[in-house]
């Protein structure tokens, strides 16, 4: 029923998600799929991780305590060395306003968490770094 795709060798995914159960599920699945990844539980943490190791794609939640997804994205886009990193928004919100705002900040996709199966989201995210 689920087609397990080949892990993207040498590609790094940064998952920015503040909810531990979701982060747990995502990490579990990414490990199963053999996708190289980093987990950040806040935007601030994500910036630290990026500074250490540059990801190929960022899986970004929007509603987070602290800086929040959009502020992180803006900061990223203002940094000349980081502005080209691809970002997929994975949020519970389907607000068109947020979607528009996200695409204005040059994200490659916007996915509503509850509407997709986890595997489908991972497939979608990894498709950008294939």
């Amino acid at each position: 029923m689920v087609t397990q795709e080949a892990p993207k060798k040498g590609k790094l995914v940064l998952v920015v998600e503040d909810e531990p159960p979701l982060q747990d599920a995502i990490q579990t699945k990414l490990n199963k799929l053999g996708v190289d990844h980093m987990a950040a539980y806040s935007a601030e943490e994500a910036l630290e991780l990026i500074a250490r190791r540059r990801p190929d794609i960022i899986w970004l939640d929007l509603l987070m305590p602290g800086m929040g997804g959009f502020a992180f994205l803006q900061k990223l886009r203002q940094d000349s060395s980081l502005k080209n990193i691809r970002v997929v928004i994975v949020s519970v919100s389907a607000s068109p306003e947020k979607i528009r705002q996200a695409f204005e900040l040059n994200v490659v996709d916007y996915l509503v968490k509850s509407q997709y199966r986890l595997e489908d989201i991972i497939n979608r995210v990894t498709s950008f770094i294939a």
Partner: protein, 685 residues
């Protein structure tokens, strides 16, 4: 008239009048008496002297004539001479006696004139001659002398007789002349006296008349006038002009009467004036009274109504004042020039300005600045200005993000409602109600926050449940038995339903909170419907149902509407038809233009809605018994959301149904479509 007679004293006047009359009468008596004495003189002269003398002369003449006849009547036959002689001798004493009488009379008349005495002596002389002649005749006869002698003597006699006769004629003429003279004198005196008498009588009459007139005029007439005046007065005719210009006591009396009358007339006049005024007033009052009487009943009724009305007004007024005073909203009224006319205490509190300060600055622009999204609105675009220009209601809601800055620099978030104050169709001012929405804004933000948080907080655990269930099913945690898999699949489906339910609830919450963002775009309802049908394809195919879409007219007019909102409505109605319609059936969608509206209907041939439950069909979470039995997993929120959405754009929603025969749901949307709305959220969460 003599000045004395004008004397004011009546007694003196009357006395003077009588004195004059008496004097006049006396004078007249004297004059007449004098006249009468003259007459007597003449009468005596004539009767005592003239006429006797004349008689005596005639006597002498008669005797002379008789003697002549005695002598010359010789024709008488047989007359003896002796007889003639006797007759002659007899005649001589008579002649003497007559002549003596005459002479006595002449002597007697002391006043006799000289010629009368001459005549008297001539008469004496002629008589003596005649007597001598007679005596000669008698001697002749006695001597019987010759006839010749006798003849001679007779001739002498005739001569003496003729001489006497001539003298007597003279005497007689003298006497006649004298008597005539006397008579003339008498006549003259009588005439004069008569004339004088007449004159006196006339004068007397005049005097008497004048006196009478004088007395009449000075006494009787005034008294009569006075009397008349008094009579008129007593008869109550005070209007009569007295004109009592009189002198004397009557004058004084008249004067006092006149004064009294004048005063009386004046007071009467005043009284009359007052009376007239009073009468006028009375008549006016009377009329008014009449009118009043006429309207009294009506008035009483009206009064009662008026009293009730007044009470009502008073209570309304005090209510209004109380309302204005106790209003949380600031209220003020400006005139055409946008100067403050009135405002309530809430306005003072809101602006932090005193009543005096507001009235001192007068104009609204001097007291308030209006901002939208932090940018000052130009004076010409401010609500009061717009209302004065358009005469229509103008509002700024919470979503318009309007704030005021007062004179003191205080900034307040507000909602503004500015309504025209119209009089006779003209806008004469603006009534403005300002709501301080700082709190509302906070609440609103809290609400928005809640919805966001709820959508996040509810869906995040649901998502994790869903994902872990998904991984379990996928065998990511190791292989699971078929029974275990079946259980986890139930968990997965339940989580899925829970997510859908939360989404629907959040949608309804947004719509009901009025926070939905509406973005109308030109929309074709037919293609939208076909889009929805495509998404429902799986469900329709499962029940082998067809959907037939009819449009009238075809193509339909394009209307401005929010795609997401319309989509949600159509989807709910069609999915209901799909769920509750039988297999192998047709769902009929009709989109018909009716006037300025489009009527959209979805007809199924399904279970219908039981009669007793029809009224509750739009309630949240309500599900009809037959529907609950047929599709246990329904949320009971779909129709509630449809109703909220349709009513949100000003449309109507209703249904026609018959149990076990089918249901048709209708909604309307105006051709003008939906109005754009700056809400915070879209329908989709």
């Amino acid at each position: 008239m003599s000045p004395i007679l004008k004397s004011n004293n009546i007694k003196i006047r009357i006395f003077l009048v009588f004195l004059i009359i008496s004097f006049f009468v006396l004078a007249s008596a004297l004059v007449i008496l004098h006249g009468t004495r003259n007459v007597d003189d003449y009468i005596v002269k004539i009767e005592a002297h003239g006429l006797p003398r004349l008689r005596a002369i005639l006597e002498i003449s008669g005797v002379s004539v008789a003697l002549g006849r005695v002598i010359h009547d010789r024709d008488i036959p047989n007359q003896p001479l002796s007889e003639i002689k006797d007759n002659l001798l007899q005649g001589i004493p008579i002649l003497d006696q007559a002549e003596l009488e005459y002479q006595r009379l002449v002597r007697q008349d002391s006043q006799a004139e000289a010629n009368l005495r001459q005549v008297g002596s001539k008469v004496q002389e002629s008589k003596s001659l005649l007597k001598q002649a007679i005596l000669e005749v008698v001697r002749v006869i006695n001597e019987e002398q010759s006839a010749e002698e006798l003849q001679e003597k007779l001739a002498a006699f005739d001569g003496a007789a003729t001489n006497l006769e001539t003298v007597l004629i003279t005497a007689r003429e003298t006497e006649i002349n004298l008597v005539n003279t006397y008579a003339d004198g008498l006549d003259g005196v009588t005439y004069q006296t008569y004339r004088l008498g007449l004159l006196l009588a006339g004068v007397f009459a005049v005097i008497v008349v004048l006196a009478a007139v004088l007395l009449y005029r000075s006494i009787v007439q005034p008294i009569l006038r006075l009397q008349n005046a008094v009579i008129r007065f007593t008869q109550g005719n005070l209007d009569t002009d007295m004109n009592l210009q009189m002198s004397g006591e009557v004058g004084e009396l008249a004067l006092s009467f006149s004064t009294m009358a004048r005063k009386l007339r004046e007071s009467y006049g005043k009284l009359q004036d007052q009376t007239k005024v009073l009468e006028k007033r009375f008549s006016v009052a009377n009329e008014q009274n009449k009118t009043l009487e006429d309207t009294k009943k009506a008035m009483l009724a009206v009064l009662e109504d008026a009293r009730l009305l007044e009470e009502k007004l008073a209570s309304e007024k005090s209510n209004l004042q109380a309302v204005l005073a106790s209003m949380n909203e600031a209220l003020f009224v400006v005139d055409k020039d946008r100067n403050f006319v009135m405002f309530n205490t809430a306005f003072e509190h809101m602006t932090g300005l005193s009543r005096d300060t507001i009235f001192k600055y007068k104009n609204i622009d001097d007291v308030l600045k209006v901002f939208q999204n932090g940018i000052e609105i130009p004076i010409d675009e401010r609500p009061t200005k717009i209302v004065l220009q358009t005469g229509k209601l103008f509002t700024y809601g919470i979503e318009d993000n309007v704030s005021l800055q007062t004179l003191g620099g205080k900034k307040i978030n507000v909602a503004i409602q500015a309504a025209p104050l119209a009089k006779d169709g003209a806008t004469i001012g603006v009534v403005v109600v300002i709501r301080d929405i700082n709190r509302e804004k906070q609440l609103d933000e809290a609400k928005t926050g809640f919805i966001s948080v709820a959508s996040h907080q509810l869906r995040t655990p649901l998502t994790s449940m869903r994902w872990f269930a998904e991984m379990l099913i996928n065998g990511d945690a190791g292989p699971i038995t078929e029974e275990q898999k079946h259980f986890v699949e139930r968990v997965y489906q339940g989580t899925d339903r829970m997510i859908a339910l939360v989404n629907l609830l959040l949608q309804i919450a947004r719509v009901e909170a009025g926070r939905l963002k509406v973005e109308p775009v030109p929309l074709d309802l037919k293609s939208t419907t076909q889009g929805v049908i495509l998404t429902l394809r799986t469900g329709l195919e499962n029940k082998k149902q067809k959907v037939e879409v009819t449009c009238q007219p075809d193509p339909l007019p394009v209307i401005p509407a929010d795609q997401e909102v319309i989509w949600q409505c159509i989807q709910n109605m069609l999915s209901n038809a799909n769920r509750y319609g039988p297999e192998n059936s047709t769902i009929y969608v009709s989109i018909i233009q009716k006037g300025t509206m489009i009527e959209y209907s979805v007809k199924d041939t399904g279970i219908g809605i039981p009669k007793e439950q029809q009224s509750r069909i739009f309630e949240k979470f309500f599900r009809a018994e037959n529907a609950l039995k047929l599709v246990p997993e329904g949320s009971g929120l779909g129709l509630s959301l449809v109703k909220s959405l349709v009513e949100g754009w000003g449309g109507k929603v209703w249904f026609e149904t018959e149990e076990n025969k089918g249901t048709t749901f209708f909604f309307t949307i105006p051709l003008t479509g939906m109005r754009a709305r700056e809400g915070e959220v879209r329908l989709t969460v």
